[in-house]
Symmetry: C2
Subunit: 478 residues, 2 copies
């Protein structure tokens, strides 16, 4: 595999040691001897007998950091209080802030933003509740809801460990699309409770982003919330992934000159993302899809399925009712889409795919197949990684998608919005620019957010899904 | 009453009218003739036949605005699209933003703040959940929870109309104390549901601020959450009010030279704030308190009480078991504390109070008694209003209080913290500065937040209520 250990990084070591001449010199020379590079030394606290200092050290990797710390700890009179690094420090006290859009410096500010002024807005919303979409953060705020059951590739880590990921989502929503997101990390994994809690907290939000909830529970949670709430509800892991896969597929097919009606697609991993992607591709008229999971290909009759959702979607797939393993399914396939786990295929397993094969190996951080290996057998290869061409990342989708539904106060999300978003992303790459290693825009391509939000909003308007606000024509009554 | 209508304010009128020469002149001359002052005209949209313009007009009050708008509407070819004013515009799209503390401009930023870097923080918190207090917004974020049942003086306006108030609270928390607050406006008023929802969403928060929940339900909600959560839970309307009343009382008693053991206090309004204030004053050893509500004085035996909570607290009050009306109760009282509704007493109703009477008429926006009227009978008068000396506002308390408990990761709130906070606020005014019209610091006195937070944190440390963090000594394992 080409994946080396993470690049050299800086660690921050807080040491408490005897306040004796030469101690600091001892410590730094130990670090240097071990191959660490001392980049800075700060004084934290001192007394007559001891001193606390932070030492910044460049190291090669985690193992190297560990060796250095062990060696320092063994120096007589030195204790290691705390060790951190850039990644952990970037998370210190969290990545988000809730700030006031307006300064509060005078009694007049307070009277306008709080009592008595706020009372007039309260009365207006009490009379016409939809006015909350104009005069509160409901206009532009998404709940990022998880139960911590399927966080990144780590599985059921619980609501506390899920917080940094939800904060990251919120940070991306704001930085990329100007949308407010707030983490709701639930200390329950009961479907009924999740549904009733999200309904109860929904008044302050303009949309609900479900996140990292394990399949198949995520399907029921999403369906019920979509039925019972009058604001858009989207499970990101399903639909943002399906959309970005579709966008990448649209451009890949252009390059290889194949069309939806002729291709055979194999999708591995029939979880949240796999099922949503299959459904979206079916919607576009693709007939020959084989969906595989742990037991192998899921039969059209539901054989090898692990749950009812898999049975349900499988009946529209697998026209030849193939029931063997993944490798067998790949025979004659034009497209492989991996939404499963790392390192399950070798490059040569792709050798019986059709000519001009397209391989999306999206497991993170380790793809289903080493992309360099895959390139020997496939014409187009994409992964979820930022250190390889063609990064298929759902962060290309959700900021613009939520911006779009919020901008027009959409009441719900429909499949046509997802399809429009995929085309909008794909079309950002001009035919003249398109080639095997540029099938999808960069995550930092600033055109993406507005392309997606405009596409989504246009469908919402066309389908009559927008909320027309009863305007407050006469504020003088409040 | 000295309260005049609100001062002159600027309204924003959006007009659509025929694109004919002279129309704009017609409109502005109508406004001027009506006594309005045109302050600005903006073009919004135009076509060959019509034009949309915003006109900013200074008016005297709401009624005046209404007259002007009616007159403009009657001009042939003019339609009023929308009317707003400074207060409503200050609320446009809400008062809060959720922002990223760090810019995300490069792949490296993303790798550190999101995948794969965030995965290391996830694993660390999964192993040691308390580390969420170091590496997530839990360290510094308060849920501002309401069910919309007792919002400002308006009562049960529901969760949507409550949003602007909760946003205001969050804005104040951030602007005054640097603490993040986020509005949780619940679409349920069922006690069991409120308790279970707040528990379920608690992982991301370091403290819970209950807000504008009606009495007596607020007492049970608070008690149960305090029992079942391991983070501080405080119902602001109760305790922040009790604390600021105590602070004002401490300084008032200094001025008049009376002590806790000798005084008679009458409290009107045995709701959330009234009961909490009574309990806090009892805690300080004040024996002679008469608590009054709609039926009059609540007997020591519970007569005239409206609920069990009133019965419960009343048994420690009213030593002479007085059961008449409020005016009778005031006879011989040293202190009146109004936490009820506006305009229920005349100045002369205070005439049988003791010499050097202290009157806190805190109903908002209209005090229980006109303060100018009250001054003829009382030595010290305070209200909740910013346009009168001695504004007793709980915004002096809660920013610093939450900052204090968060700073030391307190597990719970105890009465000694409240008492310490009150003394800290009172003591900011030096004896040499203290006089009848300066018993409490200004809400913009920047010393207040740290005085309160230090006092609260000191008690938390003294009482062993702080969470000692298991530090992440070795980040290299993640």
């Amino acid at each position: 595999m080409f994946f080396t250990s993470s690049p050299a990084y800086t660690i921050f070591i807080r040491l408490k040691f005897s306040n004796l001449p030469g101690m600091l010199g001892n410590i730094t020379s130990v670090i240097t001897k071990m191959g660490g590079e001392v980049r800075g030394i700060n004084l934290v606290e001192t007394s007559k007998t001891w001193v606390v200092r932070d030492i910044h050290v460049n190291v090669r990797d985690g193992a190297h950091a560990k060796e250095i710390i062990r060696e320092i700890s063994s120096i007589n009179g030195v204790s290691v209080e705390f060790v951190s690094d850039r990644t952990f420090l970037a998370h210190l006290h969290g990545k988000l802030e809730v700030v006031s859009k307006r300064k509060i410096s005078t009694t007049e500010d307070l009277a306008r933003l709080y009592t008595p002024g706020v009372g007039r807005v309260v009365k207006a919303i009490e009379k016409i509740p939809d006015i909350a979409f104009t005069y509160t953060i409901k206009s532009n705020t998404v709940a990022i809801v998880t139960d911590g059951s399927a966080v990144l590739g780590f599985g059921n880590v619980g609501p506390y460990a899920a917080i940094p990921v939800m904060e990251g989502k919120a940070a991306i929503l704001k930085e990329f699309a100007g949308v407010n997101g707030f983490p709701i990390c639930l200390a329950t994994q009961d479907i009924d409770q999740i549904v009733s809690i999200v309904k109860a907290i929904s008044p302050v939000f303009g949309a609900i982003n479900l996140e990292d909830i394990s399949a198949p529970r995520c399907f029921e949670v999403e369906r019920r919330l979509q039925e019972e709430l009058d604001i858009p509800v989207m499970h990101d892991d399903q639909h943002a992934t399906a959309i970005i896969v579709l966008a990448a597929l649209l451009n890949s097919l252009k390059i290889v000159g194949k069309s939806f009606s002729d291709i055979k697609i194999v999708i591995n991993g029939a979880g949240a993302a796999g099922i949503a992607t299959t459904k979206l591709l079916l919607k576009l008229g693709i007939k020959n899809i084989i969906l595989c999971d742990k037991k192998g290909a899921i039969g059209r009759d539901g054989e090898n399925a692990l749950n009812d959702y898999q049975v349900d979607v499988a009946q529209y797939t697998n026209p030849d009712n193939y029931k063997g393993d993944l490798k067998g399914a790949l025979k004659g396939a034009d497209v492989f889409i991996g939404l499963s786990v790392g390192n399950i295929l070798k490059g040569e397993d792709l050798r019986f795919m059709e000519k001009d094969a397209i391989v999306f190996a999206l497991a993170n951080p380790i793809p289903e197949v080493d992309p360099l290996d895959a390139e020997r057998y496939a014409r187009i290869v994409a992964t979820g990684r930022s250190d390889f061409p063609n990064q298929i990342n759902n962060a290309l989708v959700y900021p613009g998608f939520f911006k779009g539904v919020l901008n027009v106060r959409a009441k719900k999300i429909v499949d046509d919005m997802k399809i429009a978003a995929a085309y909008a992303i794909a079309n950002l790459i001009d035919d003249s620019e398109l080639y095997e290693e540029y099938i999808i825009p960069s995550i930092f391509d600033q055109r993406v957010v507005n392309a997606v939000s405009d596409a989504v909003a246009t469908i919402a308007i066309r389908e009559g899904l927008i909320r027309s606000l009863e305007q407050l024509k006469d504020i003088s009554e409040f």
